[in-house]
């Protein structure tokens, strides 16, 4: 058990087995879902830490061959499926394990709860781990669909009809995207005869003796990349393929929105990063320069359009949802810059580090923002931005968390949002892609516009019904609310445990996670340099310098 190469297998198997255990135990003990999930996800966190320490420590890259089929010969294709953990996968695994536990804390009292929720949620975590760790393009499709199916059910898990409509739309668009990805995989299989990522990269480069030279300009390979990229752009919600996303985020139960906003689109963007870097490799983009230009253009449109749409929304969750369209555009944009043939070594390196930091940073920030929004909705039933009026006094802790995270999203130093954008802009400038730097600046201004609206409502607009409370005894009421928001529920745990209705006011878990996300976003900003150093070997390896 001391060999860390078993960690990837356990990381994927544990949540999926736990999902089955939750279902079975639920038949006998309907309230056992939470403790079982907690145990499973704490173990998962330990495994993730083990994997990360091995990958960032001495091992570098871990490979586990499922079933130990191995390879028939030295230069022949792998027979079975390989699980591969490198610095990028280990980062994703750590992120997923952390957010998985946070969401469990968020949903503990505020819901959704119940056996079906925990089973679907654990399946989701298993699927996400699978996508992060697999080294096989078809296996990636399977895990992408496990993630997808779990997400569709979670979106509809509060049994409300609008959520069912949103989930169905998500299902139809998401499955079409996954099918396009599968079609791309089929083209790759036809062109090369293998599904293993490392073998694909070698075959496309023309290394095996049975192919004559690099295949990068083969129409089949180009079409394959087009289908795969389109499919994954659907999953990552890149404009104009984002249409499923605002509805799904808005209608899903609040706790579910936290999980899917932080993890599900993130895994789509990760998959795009992984396929571009490890399967097609920078050499493909060098052989056909137009591809990187198209990616940069599409992503730039997404960055601006997402921010512009976010400014126009009146509902809080929709604003944050469109903001995600813009932020994932930024991640894809950074990938495009890193792979752009015009980008030199230093530009590509900076852009790629920026992409990874922004991917992680956005997950933390957006998860925190949705948690804060959930807390404010529980405190004061605030659903639209206008509802936030005066909440800076009523729920000071949650408002402060939302405000801080909003600033992080804009990119105010020293938080993580600034760091990611900084690296991406450095990359764009070093690559002489000046229009891209302008695009990022423009989107920052638009982001500032909608974050400023949040600020204005939270802190500078008086509460509409607060006449009597606001004028007479502001100190008293705000203290009461602060108490309720801070820790009121932890004191009542014993007496209210058996009540099905959540108590009014945000439970402790929600507040703690929102504050934790804000603190983590700032700490990550300070730890950015160390993180960039840790990624350095991976970055230089995949960029082939």
């Amino acid at each position: 058990m001391t060999d860390p190469t078993v960690a990837p297998v356990l990381l994927i198997a544990l949540p999926i087995v736990a999902a089955a255990v939750v279902l079975l135990a639920g038949l006998r003990w309907p309230r056992s879902g939470w403790p079982i999930s907690l145990v499973a996800l704490v173990l998962e966190g330990g495994l993730a830490a083990w994997l990360a320490s091995a990958v960032f420590g001495d091992s570098g890259r871990l490979v586990h061959e499922l079933g130990a089929y191995g390879r028939p010969g030295e230069n022949e294709f792998a027979v079975g499926i390989e699980l591969v953990a490198d610095a990028l996968s280990a980062t994703m695994v750590g992120l997923i394990a952390l957010i998985a536990l946070s969401v469990l804390a968020v949903t503990r009292r505020a819901g959704p709860r119940g056996v079906p929720f925990y089973a679907a949620y654990l399946m989701l975590i298993g699927g996400l781990m699978g996508v992060s760790l697999t080294g096989d393009v078809f296996n990636l499709f399977v895990f992408l669909e496990i993630t997808g199916i779990a997400t569709y059910t979670l979106v509809a898990s509060n049994r409300s009809a609008p959520a069912a409509v949103a989930a169905l739309k998500y299902l139809i668009v998401g499955t079409t995207g996954a099918s396009l990805y599968l079609l791309g995989v089929g083209y790759l299989l036809m062109a090369t005869g293998t599904l293993n990522m490392a073998d694909l990269a070698a075959t496309l480069a023309g290394e095996p003796s049975f192919v004559d030279g690099p295949m990068y300009t083969d129409p089949l390979v180009l079409a394959s990349f087009a289908f795969i990229a389109t499919g994954l752009f659907v999953k990552a919600a890149i404009f104009p393929l984002h249409t499923w996303q605002p509805g799904a985020y808005d209608e899903a139960p609040d706790g579910v929105t936290v999980a899917i906003s932080a993890l599900v689109s993130t895994i789509g963007a990760y998959a795009f990063l992984r396929i571009s870097l490890s399967v097609f490799t920078p050499a493909f983009f060098e052989a056909t320069p137009i591809v990187a230009t198209v990616i940069v253009t599409v992503a730039s449109v997404s960055v601006v359009a997402g921010s512009a749409l976010a400014v126009m929304q009146s509902r809080i969750k929709r604003t944050f949802a469109y903001s995600s369209v813009s932020q994932f555009g930024l991640v894809v944009l950074a990938t495009g810059i890193a792979l752009h043939p015009d980008a030199g070594a230093s530009a590509a390196e900076a852009a790629l580090i920026g992409a990874v930091i922004h991917l992680v940073g956005h997950a933390v920030v957006k998860g925190g923002l949705f948690t804060a929004a959930m807390g404010l909705a529980l405190d004061s039933d605030a659903r639209t931005i206008d509802d936030l009026a005066g909440l800076g006094r009523q729920s000071p802790v949650l408002s402060a968390a939302m405000a801080l995270l909003g600033l992080t999203l804009v990119g105010v130093p020293p938080a993580v949002g600034f760091l990611g954008k900084w690296y991406i802009v450095i990359g764009a400038m070093n690559a002489d892609l000046w229009p891209v730097a302008v695009v990022i600046l423009l989107s920052t201004v638009l982001t500032l516009a909608y974050v400023a609206r949040l600020f204005e409502q939270l802190y500078f607009t008086p509460a509409p019904s607060g006449d009597e409370a606001g004028a007479e005894a502001p100190a008293d009421t705000s203290d009461d609310h602060a108490m309720a928001a801070d820790g009121g529920n932890s004191a009542d745990d014993g007496t209210e445990e058996h009540l099905s209705d959540p108590t009014p006011g945000a439970p402790f878990g929600v507040v703690a996670v929102a504050v934790g996300a804000a603190i983590l976003a700032i700490l990550l900003g300070f730890a950015g340099a160390e993180f960039a150093d840790a990624l350095e070997p991976f970055v230089t390896e995949v960029l082939g310098q």
Partner: protein, 124 residues
Amino acid sequence: MTPLVDVLTSRYAYVLFALLLGIGLYMIVSSQNLVKKVIGLNLFQTALFLFFIASAYLAGGQAPIVHHGGKEATYVSPLPQVIVLTAIVVGIAVTAVALALLVRIYAEYGTLEEDVLREVRSDD
């Protein structure tokens, strides 16, 4: 023989694949009925299955079972067949979830037509 006839006679499986893919996608995009959208999705996936099967076809090929045809026999690659099997399972799971959601929507709104649904929901 003209190139078109040549394609139709020797590559008809791929032509069928492209047709099914197009029809499926068209149904997903243009149909107002949600059930028909799901059927379109299934058609779209079926086109993919056909594509994989067609790409794996080998004239005179044998099933890749040990000791089945001896060392000299030509074997079919098992990989695409396995992919199709897995993809069928994934497709069924997705369809099951979609149908469950449709039942929920119909129970609430009493319609599966997208335009009617939009009107009903805007009244709420």
